[in-house]
């Protein structure tokens, strides 16, 4: 296992120390908990947004704490949902009296732990609500399963709900906006290589030099199936097919695009993917309002990418364009 680490058991703690050291103008760490909170939290009168989940997805979620996005990020162990305790602590630390909205990615563990924390917080008299992001079209949605996963599309929820909260909107309105983003965003990913959980010390699966894993999540879990590797254009088309199949997009609709690198994939390759994604959208007469290319929701050192498409309306465009100032996501 070749990593810049000291102790596999302490990677999250040490990472958070390094993050706080790097960005003291944005974030602080709650004493005794792996929670990054906005430096100036609680913002009195503003609804606070809390997200988080397992670590290993950096810059998600700590990198999105700041003006116009999150008020706190709860950082679990690598790929493991945080327990209710730090979530509760985060809720208490950022509640400015107007309530707290939790943004949770749809994984059994995340949902259960955030729900438990919400239950306790409500018993303590804090107004807490939550939304569950499930943008990953790789996984069949069904009430008989755990449902779709939340992946990179979550960052759009952070950005847009965060901008909404900044306008002084109430928790109900912000939740409605967040739910609108969730119902309008679809993502799909794939990987060229696995990743190594530091405490495990070896990869969860292996791929041949000629293979790729389609429908890859962001936890090193296998995807929906394996295929022979193909060209960037074919791959982009494959991901887009699955996304467009699941979205009701019509000629003239406007979208935001996110090409997300899982970590090891160079920006060069993400731009090559983006090129084809744009072509496909243009062929479908979809207007591209804004594009984000980079690493937004990673999976340790995995090579791979995901594409997210968010259908926009006037409200979402306005909120997407609103100023955001966080360590990892800035809109001027």
């Amino acid at each position: 296992m070749k990593k810049f680490i000291n102790n596999p058991e302490r990677v999250v703690d040490e990472m958070l120390e390094g993050m706080v050291a790097a960005h003291p103008e944005y974030i602080r760490k709650l004493e005794g908990f792996n929670v990054l909170a906005r430096k100036n939290a609680p913002v009195i009168g503003k609804v606070a947004l809390v997200s988080g989940g397992g670590s290993g997805h950096e810059p998600a979620h700590g990198g999105y704490v700041g003006k116009g996005m999150l008020d706190a990020a709860v950082c679990g162990n690598v790929f493991t949902s945080p327990t209710p305790d730090p979530i509760l602590e985060a809720i208490k630390a950022v509640n400015g009296g107007a309530g707290v909205l939790l943004i949770v990615k749809n994984y059994t563990g995340d949902v259960m732990n955030f729900e438990m924390a919400r239950d306790i917080a409500e018993m303590e008299g804090i107004n807490v609500d939550y939304v569950i992001v499930n943008d990953d079209v790789a996984v069949e949605n069904s009430t008989y399963t755990a449902g779709r996963r939340g992946i990179a599309g979550t960052v759009f929820v952070h950005k847009i709900a965060g901008a909404k909260a900044e306008t002084g909107a109430g928790i109900k309105e912000i939740k409605a906006t967040a739910l609108k983003v969730i119902s309008n965003v679809r993502s799909m990913g794939m990987a060229l290589s696995p990743c190594i959980i530091p405490a495990a010390g070896k990869p969860n699966f292996t791929l041949l030099e000629s293979e790729m894993e389609i429908g890859m999540g962001i936890h090193g879990e296998p995807g929906t199936h394996r295929e022979k590797i193909r060209t960037a254009d074919e791959l982009a088309a494959q991901l887009m097919d699955k996304i467009l199949e699941d979205m009701s997009l019509h000629a003239g609709d406007e979208v935001a695009v996110m090409i997300n690198g899982l970590a090891a994939t160079p920006l060069m390759e993400l731009y090559i993917i983006n090129r084809r994604v744009h072509d496909i959208l243009k062929q479908n007469e979809i207007k591209i309002y804004k594009t984000f290319v980079g690493e937004f929701m990673t999976s340790l050192e995995m090579a791979g990418c995901s594409v997210s498409i968010l259908k926009l309306d006037d409200e979402l465009k306005l909120l997407l364009d609103a100023e955001a100032d966080t360590p990892a996501f800035k809109v001027i």
């Binding site: 059994t108 259960m112 996984v139 405490a199 999540g217 090193g220 929906t224």
Partner: protein
Amino acid sequence: MVVNGKKLIEILDRIADVIEENKLMLTELDAAIGDGDHGINMSRGFHAVREKLKDDDGSDIGIILKKAGMALVSNVGGAAGPLYGTAFLKAGAVVEGKQTVDVADLENMLKSALEGIKMRGHAEPKDKTMVDAAEEALNALNSSNAAGESPQQAIKAAVDAAYLGLENTKDMIARKGRASYLAERSIGHKDAGAASFALILKTIFDELYGQESS
């Protein structure tokens, strides 16, 4: 079979060791169709249980199990944390105030624990989760107790049934938890949570009756 608080703490202590010894196995099961952290999570959790019970005087089985449940909720994380945590909390609730428990209590505790797991995770048997081990174990314990078999026989039956439940998960399509993302591809792999469940039950038996007789 009568277990007091001190013995229960010893059993929980031993579970921490057994989970630690089987950390790799559990993690590998999870790696095949999940994210490969189950052994790591459980080991962290049961070490916290041990820590939490270090100074417990063993006077109340209910309190011991509640403390264990809280330690699991607060330290395991992931899916297994709330599930095992709830299981221990619920098991504790039905023996509140008791200084000792017998095999009938054990049946109640297991029943309540399983209900807690189902309530929290909304899983049913055949969803390829820890429920499949727990359900089989409870049924076997129930039948054996009803048939008037000895506590040793009853608990042995529960352990064997849990392992059967675990084996059965191999052919199932996962419908809950991370493995569900794999759909058909989850077939052929045993469920990690069912494995940890069977292991915990087996450790209880081994602590009560010795490993030879198992």
